[in-house]
């Protein structure tokens, strides 16, 4: 039963996505679609697992929205792949002329747009964490491609506040379930120890998160004075290691 629970945790990604956050993103897609007069707008996040990196669509509005949500596009191709890898937005028309692109989208949604505009969603450090895609924008509503790029970029900036929280929950949720399962199986009430055992088996990208969770779990078991002291040390360390701005 517990082993099954731990296995289930591995498959939890789409289900673990918090509803409230994805609803926020869906509302953002709907607004962007109206402003740009587009057939569809979607948001995808960069996901890393054992099979490599991929774009996973987490919210959408418009044509093919139901089909695209949950779709996983492997890295290494597509306009979205380029935008994430390069950090540069891209607007292209006559996308059917790119046969690989047309096949890829048709297979996932059954809808092939004539025009596509994709902008990166970046984290606080400027690294792309996802993309916002606009399909078949209405030129009369959105103005020139350059104008549409600017509008889409402002929506991507809003999505940037939500996407990292989704990623955190998606990664941390299954980890915690596995840790609880392990702790119970080992008749061990120490959640931190369970998390550390899970961390040892995780890929490097998730190990740090599990270790941090274990550290927090340990701190929770200490008295309030120890917790306050640890918080002070952390705050000082963060201030010390914050990147120096050069201008």
């Amino acid at each position: 039963m517990l082993a099954r629970l731990a296995e289930l945790a591995d498959d939890l990604d789409p289900l673990a996505t918090p509803g409230e956050l994805t609803e926020q993103l869906s509302a953002l897609c709907a607004t962007a679609r109206l402003v740009l007069g587009a057939a569809a707008v979607s948001v995808a996040r960069v996901d890393e697992d054992d099979t490599g990196t991929a774009l996973v669509y987490v919210a959408a509005d418009g044509v093919g929205a139901a089909e695209i949500i949950g779709t996983r596009l492997p890295a290494g191709h597509g306009v979205g792949g380029f935008v994430v890898a390069s950090g540069q937005s891209l607007a292209i028309d006559r996308v059917q002329d790119d046969p690989r692109f047309a096949r890829e989208i048709a297979e996932s949604t059954g809808y092939v747009p004539a025009s596509l505009l994709v902008v990166p969603i970046t984290d606080g450090g400027g690294s792309p964490v996802g993309v916002l895609s606009v399909l078949d924008r209405d030129a009369s509503a959105a103005g020139s491609s350059a104008d549409a790029l600017e509008v889409a970029t402002s929506f991507a900036r809003q999505a940037a506040f939500v996407l990292p929280r989704i990623e955190l929950v998606v990664r941390l949720g299954p980890m915690l379930v596995r840790a609880v399962a392990e702790a119970v199986a080992a008749q061990d009430r120490d959640l931190a120890a369970g998390l550390r055992r899970v961390a040892a088996r995780l890929p490097e990208s998730d190990r740090e998160l599990a270790d941090s969770a274990a550290l927090l779990a340990e701190l929770r078991d200490r008295g309030p004075e120890t917790r306050a002291a640890a918080e002070r040390v952390l705050a000082e360390l963060l201030a010390l290691t914050a990147p120096r701005r050069r201008r």
């Binding site: 890898a85 390069s86 540069q88 491609s145 350059a146």
Partner: protein, 275 residues
């Protein structure tokens, strides 16, 4: 006579100093004088991007290729593999096609830094610029940039090295209004979109950092599978300036980047009327 000199003054002592960079400027500077036969013959132009499809009719030929990708096991953090390769996305082919259109006889060098991993890296971009400096590239077109301020000094050093090696580094401004490295550095030819689709026309912005303007909005570009697309982005303006620089270097092989700036500005659409 005192023969002790402060550091760095040795080149100016005795007869060892070579000739100053020479450029027999005409007045006014004309396109015919600057661009010569417009072929770019003998000029090595690198496209630092997603690779180049050599089979695309708009590209015709790629003379050299190298892939630079992250490798945690390597001491430098990157793996460098020389040899032919594909374009994974189409973007590098688009940039190469623009350069080929403007300067048809250049030697095209594909430096692929965007691979199957979705996370592009400032480290690979930096290594790509260094590879170009070390491999005799005359003009490098970089439509990519980073916001990672940890690399500020690395790119500053590289841009200085490129300039001293007389390599013209052309960088697209980011499509988003945010600080990007190295496209805003004074030592690079930074490019943003200007209206229109005529690649013979370009503009010089007297107010940095977007120093040059060229066609990049709704422009025809080469893409995967031998096709063409209509695309928009500063990415497609940068290769226009790279193409014009290739023409200039082909005609004036010893030109320095700062001299090339003067020549380009004299040919810009918004140049002052000749007095």
């Amino acid at each position: 006579m005192n023969d002790i000199y402060p550091a760095w003054s040795e080149p100016f002592a005795g007869d060892g100093l070579g000739a100053a960079p020479h450029l027999a400027l005409t007045r006014p500077i004309s396109r015919r004088w600057a661009f010569g036969d417009r072929s770019g013959r003998g000029v090595r132009v690198a496209v630092i991007d997603s690779g180049i499809d050599a089979a695309h009719p708009g590209v015709g030929r790629v003379d050299q290729g190298v892939v630079i990708e992250l490798d945690k096991t390597a001491e430098s953090g990157v793996r460098v593999t020389e040899g032919p390769h594909d374009d994974l996305y189409g973007h590098g082919t688009a940039c190469a096609g623009i350069i080929r259109q403007l300067a048809p006889d250049v030697e095209l060098v594909s430096v692929r830094v965007l691979g199957a991993n979705l996370k592009g890296s400032a480290l690979t971009f930096a290594n790509a610029i260094e590879w170009c400096i070390d491999h005799g590239v005359h003009v490098a077109s970089l439509s990519l940039s980073t916001s990672n301020e940890d690399y500020y000094e690395t790119f500053h050093d590289l841009v200085d090295r490129a300039t001293f090696a007389r390599m013209m580094l052309v960088c697209a401004m980011n499509n988003e209004r945010k600080t990007t490295i190295p496209s805003e550095f004074a030592g690079v030819f930074s490019v943003a979109c200007a209206p229109g689709s005529d690649r013979e026309r370009f503009w010089c912005n007297p107010s940095a950092p977007a120093e040059w303007g060229a066609a990049g909005i709704d422009v025809e570009v080469a893409w995967l599978g031998g096709e063409t697309l209509t695309a928009t982005g500063n990415s497609f303006a940068a290769p226009v300036i790279a193409g014009h620089l290739a023409r200039i270097v082909g005609t004036h092989p010893d030109i320095t980047p700062w001299q090339a700036r003067t020549v380009l500005a004299a040919l810009a659409e918004n140049r002052p009327a000749t007095r």
